[in-house]
């Protein structure tokens, strides 16, 4: 059975539902992060985005991010849902929920997860803007690069 904490889906995302997955009686905090499709990027007027994933590896990247975050913040529970396909302005592209007994670990784990997704997760956005389209290319996906991983941790302290 697939782990409902980690999903790649064409369905609209529901932050409340993702938060519910990680909630438990001993957690006093849940932090959620929602990434939203914006109408502007690099001076271009964005019309919509098309997300593409290498789904089995994307799921494994989420599991890996969970393991990395769990080493640093052992008390957290983490879920990541990422949407693919065509997304319009205002649609949620990614939802992260992190539960923990206290708020610092929930905020930190949430921040770490989004930074790490942007570094290693095999998902790509194809931006359709007024006048053309372009594949957005960010980071070389190398989860073994410890220097890059340290940069993600540095965002969380």
């Amino acid at each position: 059975m697939s782990d409902q904490r980690f999903r790649v889906t064409t369905d609209p995302l529901d932050a409340t539902a993702v938060a519910r997955i990680v909630a438990s009686a001993d957690c006093g905090a849940i932090a959620t992060f929602t990434g939203i499709v914006r109408d502007e990027h690099a001076g271009r007027r964005v019309l919509w985005l098309e997300y593409e994933a290498y789904e089995p590896l994307a799921i494994k990247s989420f599991v890996r991010i969970d393991e990395e975050a769990g080493e640093r913040w052992p008390s957290i529970a983490l879920a990541i849902h990422h949407r693919v396909g065509r997304l319009d302005i205002g649609d949620a592209s990614v939802v992260i929920a992190v539960a923990s007994p206290h708020r610092p670990e929930a905020f930190a784990g949430c921040r770490y997860a989004i930074e790490r997704i942007k570094q290693i997760c095999p998902i790509w956005k194809h931006e359709h803007f007024e006048g053309g389209d372009v594949w957005i290319e960010g980071a070389t996906a190398d989860p073994m690069d410890d220097e890059v991983r340290r940069m993600a941790f540095a965002q969380c302290s």
Binding site: Y51, L57, K60, K125, H126, E137, D142, P143, M144
Partner: protein, 81 residues
């Protein structure tokens, strides 16, 4: 050996499809497969420095050895989130 090659985003568009089958020599690595693609498709060499790879749906190094039936995926720089 016969391997399946998976391509994504701009690499997929430049190759015209997301899944290819290619015959590679014994002892081939992910790098061997990549070099063959660079010879075959104009534009791929632009990605030789930034590309990363996965073998059988796990992150791998370009030095990873391939075997008959393997799936090797080449990942252009990612932009999820």
């Amino acid at each position: 050996m016969l391997v399946t090659i998976r391509l994504f985003a701009r690499l997929r568009e430049m190759a015209g499809k997301g899944e290819l089958r290619r015959e590679l020599p014994d002892g081939a690595t992910a790098r061997t497969a990549w070099d063959a693609l660079v010879d075959e498709f104009p534009g791929f060499d632009d990605y030789s420095k930034a590309v990363s790879c996965a073998v059988n749906q796990d992150y791998a190094r370009m030095t990873a050895s391939l075997a008959d039936g393997d799936e090797v995926a080449f990942l252009p720089p990612v932009s999820g989130g």
